[in-house]
Symmetry: C2
Subunit: 228 residues, 2 copies
């Protein structure tokens, strides 16, 4: 194993709390900011599916997020000016890490190449890393390979960029579906349980649903299991 | 100014001494290892020119280096097995930084996004960063944008990836030609004098040849000039 590739939204950072905070701050306390964050996030997969299906060319996540934001603002009957909309869209660049993420990544980095393999675009992931102190060796993911997970190209082209065989790469994610797609490409897999990603009523991805290579409850635990 | 983009070979790392050392170690003391390194490097621009001209599709520098290495080994009448050739080709992944590079970059990173904008491929630059301790925020350059400097796309697409205007980016390089191409794209420019890049008999790029935004003799000096 030479490289650990990380899902980011939900696995490394707590998108729901962070986005809800910025929604509340900009839109006021009358808005159900968690419902807003959940609805915005719910448009994430359908937006990428347009790209995966070939219906539209590769489009950065920042732009997909902005289009989805227009929809959600309209549904919530909220008016925002262009500058406020642009600022709120950048909430995804400022997501807070889970408490174990920075220390876990810092330990893993001593022995492995560590990089995001996220559907976020490069500037989103780079701004997030600088804000949160995530010590990535490189910013990889959908944009350099122009393919959104779980398309096989997202995993296979990332291994190719690194000059590695898929079996030398491990996907680390809080989502069983991401790990299944990576495993189909020949990656090793590590499940990190994030039972609060979707809030206290979360019903999905509470546990590993397959015999992944590792199954842990934090990135620090993964570092311990890998001897870092 | 938000991002500083760095040329790497010659500007951040001392390719000539590092490559010559590995040539000497692998090929023995009968070989003029500096002449070998110089000849290998002399095939760098012609190899990329095939891509820039459209005569061949975008091809990673690792592969261009490997093809050039075959030529140079033949010219020097040296026989190497495949494994030794592959190992020697990776000398470019293990180049040593100039003495001021790590500290200078570390200071600059506190105030700016810092990334390579090099013709090296991602895994080459990533391995080099891990070996040398170069604290990049992201690994950018020719591979993510599929264009070799000094093509305008190499600079303009890099700014676009960062979500920045060209005027918010500064190219940092020891080569006047690189800075001229970046300036034509609207980048700010910083010349770093590296009078020993080509050894003690160097005759080119000994000084700034235009009115660049900054002109310094080390990356630490640049950090000081930029108030870091």
């Amino acid at each position: 194993m030479k490289a650990l590739l990380f899902d980011v939204f939900g696995t490394v950072v707590d998108w729901r709390t962070s986005v809800a905070r910025e929604v509340g701050s900009l839109c006021g306390s009358d808005v159900d900011s968690y419902a807003f964050a959940d609805r915005w996030r719910s448009l994430y997969q359908p937006a990428m599916e347009q790209v995966r299906s070939g219906a539209r060319p590769f489009t950065r996540l920042d732009r997909l997020h902005h289009e989805s934001l227009s929809t959600v603002l309209s549904e919530f009957d909220i008016q925002l000016g262009d500058a406020d909309m642009a600022s709120l869209n950048l909430a995804w660049h400022r997501l807070d890490p889970w408490p174990d993420s920075v220390l876990g990544l810092t330990r893993l980095r001593t022995e492995f190449i560590i990089a995001p393999l996220s559907n976020g675009n490069i500037s989103l992931l780079l701004d997030m890393a600088k804000n949160a102190g995530l010590p990535w060796d490189a910013i990889l993911g959908a944009e350099p390979v122009r393919a959104y997970k779980p398309m096989p190209d997202a995993y296979l082209r990332t291994a190719d960029i690194l000059g590695l065989e898929p079996s030398e790469c491990m996907m680390v994610a809080a989502h069983n579906s991401d790990l299944a797609a990576a495993a189909d490409c020949g990656f090793a897999t590590a499940f990190v349980a994030r039972p609060l990603e979707h809030g206290p009523a979360q019903t999905t991805d509470l546990a590993a649903e397959s015999d992944w290579t590792y199954s842990v409850d934090s990135i620090e635990s993964l570092a311990t299991q890998l001897g870092c």
